[in-house]
């Protein structure tokens, strides 16, 4: 089974998992410019999004920023 825990909720992928964090963000339509990502508690810098391979069972936190302050 291909499962990722995204922001605390398990998401099952019917086909293959997106192979990288960058591919996952694209699939979820999340703008890489305005998101902070952690994989299994480790912060991933934006420059590493396309080098970070994903594996079933990982926990991913995506903090999406919207403007205003």
């Amino acid at each position: 089974m291909n499962v990722l825990k995204i922001n605390g909720t398990e998401k099952t992928f019917d086909s293959e998992l997106p192979d990288t964090l960058a591919a996952l963000l694209e699939q979820l339509s999340v703008n890489a410019e305005t998101v902070v990502a952690e994989v299994d508690g480790r912060i991933i810098e934006r420059s590493g999004f396309d080098k970070t391979e994903l594996h079933s069972g990982q926990a991913i936190e995506l903090v999406r920023f919207v403007p205003g302050g």
């Binding site: 305005t34 952690e38 810098e45 936190e61 903090v63 999406r64 919207v66 403007p67 205003g68 302050g69």
Partner: protein, 195 residues
């Protein structure tokens, strides 16, 4: 009770951005008698800021950093405040906020918010960051929540109400988020041993 105030007195808190969030967090933390604040903003005060930011008519045109130092002195002169009037970047944030225990992210632009959080988490060991996403509009008070994402990352807001949706920034809702921030900062300083 003494231990509570001792911890706050010894603490250093960074405030990145002094708009609706940052000016409110600064006032709240000065009233709470945090020992040391490091505040930073490159901008000057405009009339349109006064609907939610803690400045006065006679301060229009002044640097927000200078005006806030002046205002905090009137509120609680015991707080030591260090101010920076420059644009914060991934390059200078670790230096400017080197001494802080916690940093409150109080920027306006989404890209800047991300930049600060990423910089703190990758380059500043042990510093906790309290950030905000989603505070625009009015009403829906109870949708603004504090979430602990990981050890060093706390996110406040409703996660969706941005000014990009053409929502207004109103004092009540902005201050709600800022109060969550100030409250989270105090909790971190008092309940967690940092350094």
């Amino acid at each position: 009770m003494n231990e509570f105030y001792d911890k706050l007195k010894k603490a250093t808190v960074g405030i990145a951005g002094l708009g609706g969030l940052g000016s409110t967090v600064a006032v709240a933390l000065a009233r709470t008698a945090i020992g040391n604040l490091i505040i930073a903003d490159f901008d000057t005060i405009e009339e349109s800021n006064l609907n939610r930011q803690h400045y006065f008519l006679n301060q229009i045109g002044e640097y927000k950093t200078d005006a806030m130092i002046e205002n905090l002195k009137q509120i609680n002169p015991q707080v030591k405040v260090k101010g920076y009037k420059q644009k914060l970047t991934a390059g200078n944030i670790p230096e400017i906020f080197a001494e802080v225990d916690v940093i409150a992210e109080c920027f306006d632009k989404a890209e800047q918010k991300k930049m600060l959080v990423e910089t703190v988490l990758t380059k500043m060991e042990r510093v906790v960051v309290v950030t905000v996403s989603g505070l625009a509009g009015y009403g829906r008070s109870n949708e603004i929540v504090t979430s602990r994402i990981s050890n060093r990352l706390i996110v406040i807001g409703d996660g969706k109400s941005g000014t990009d949706l053409n929502l207004p920034l109103t004092a009540g809702r902005v201050w709600l988020a800022a109060s969550h921030q100030a409250n989270a900062v105090v909790e971190i300083l008092v309940d967690e041993i940092i350094k």
